[in-house]
Amino acid sequence: METVLFHLMPYADLDLKAGRDHGTVWVNLPNSNFDPVKGHELYNRYLDELEYGEELGFDAIAVNEHHQTAYGLMPSPIVTASALARRTQRVKIAILGSALPLRDHPLMVAEEHAMIDVISGGRLISGFVRGIGAEYHTFGVNPTFSHDRFHEAHDLIVRGWTEPGPFAFQGRHYNVQYVNVWPRPFQKPHPPIWIPSQGSKETIDWAAHPDRRYTYLQTFSPANVVQRYLDMYRDTCKGFGYEAQDRQLGWAVPVYVAATDEAARREAKPHFEAFRNVFLKMPVEMLLPPGYTSRESLKNVMKAKAAIFGDITLEKSIELGLIVCGSPETARRVLEDHWKHMRFGNLLVLCQFGTLPADLTRRNMELFAREVMPAVKQLASKAVPA
């Protein structure tokens, strides 16, 4: 099992009441709520935390992309991944991912990712996403073309990385006379590609295709939902006539470890609830603009509206598997249990979430790395056929 330290870099100094009163911290929460001086401290603290991940023995450290939100301060994961590339030596760096349809030109993504791969000597894991629904409101990109643009941008990027340039690319959304990416990526044929998703059949069908076999990451969902989608991925692979390897599956989940279950719950509670009930919150119209998902998926979300959009306590979240929280022993047991059912080959842990402060984050990372990670890694290694 590969363990990945994932960071969202939230604006932890947010006035939570302002976020709550506004109803969402996405799209239109006034940016007067952001203090650049506090932002300066947070960015440097968060980058330190990710760099510390290498020392603690994580296989990879991961950043992502979100726009115009207090949920995460990384409109460009290129910036954070670049900073990390120069400050680390061995650890892989995952961009989970770049939001392709939001970019005017996918060749920029091909170039930037290739640069990081070359600078880091082949340590980049490339992730591609469509961006969440809110970001289609933010950028004005038409959500009904989101899938088309994503697929076409992906094709352009991978061809740019792998085919000798220059060549011409003719698409519906992108037309390039001379595709000729300098630098070419360090890894051959190209950096591994991971596909983070909140769960979508369309995405699974595409990622699992034998031409791609991309690692599918299910992010921030109740454990039973994670299992459903990971099973769907495996079944889809079978439908394509091959068996999915564990490394094609990943689960991204917040984790909090403390000396005892009681202490872990007490310490994590306000910070996780801020993450879940303030930072993640948005109205359904913002989350799922027309065309972003199929209308069937949209109807399912609308049916489950109360469960998805209502507040959830830490205790309930633990029960649902929205967070792994407890003593090292509990965390080991819970992760092992989930692994037995889901057999994911990548575990992405979010050791900082919501308003979790620096001291608790650091202790959480250390306890997880020392007391939980070795068991998790070993557990998985048993499953890999010799």
Binding site: N142, P289, P290, R295, L298
Partner: protein, 259 residues
Amino acid sequence: MAFSQRFIDIDGCRLCLRRGGSGAPLLYLHGASGVPAVMPFMEKLAARFDVLVPEHPGFGLSDEPAWLENIHDLAYFYLDLLRALDLKDVRVVGSSLGGWLALEMAVRDTSRMKSLVLVGPAGISVPGIQPGDIFLWSPEQVVRNLFFDQKLAEQRLAEPVTPELLDMTLKNRHTVARLGWEPRLHDPHLPKWLHRIDVPVKIVWGEEDKILPVAYAREFGKLMPKAQVEIVPRCGHLPQAEKPDLFCDIVFRFAGAKG
């Protein structure tokens, strides 16, 4: 006045067409909410016109053709429809998105048109004015912002939402986004060609329109100096629904009944 409902095939698209009344042909082009049923103002118009009320491709009971990617596709489709049905001297009445559609048709070809009545049409942008964000508003906010008279909004909100109606609403919404998400409900190239419209144009606007504020009417007045602009006081985005008698009088006076 009874309306018939049938399906016709044009450009590979099965289209739901309601038709009623007799007289000169009047083509009603609906807005973003579609036309799930015949409305009172249509009945009134049918007393003097042969009223055609299609559901646009991508709306209601009509197909969602793969070729439908922008408003221009829809404009060419309807020009094909006028030819396929051999309609002449057509009074085109378009509301909101349908008004934009009427303009896109008319800058291309007015040979089968007699006149245009545009009701709170989209299609242009006005510097400094943003249209209401129909995609970010909740369904309730959308309905409330459609009407000046909140009693009408309450009535609309009290109507039961059947699964069929929900499906249709989501389908309509999808198509509206397809055509008008970005640039938001307008075509930046349209104003360059509005001078090509050589039939009489009437623009009707609810003074209290919260979707496309009345500033749009003034901008249209500047862009189309020969068009008549009529502002309806104490009225929202849909004068035809909110003030049907007044609206139909405007149409009768402007578009006449004789071919």
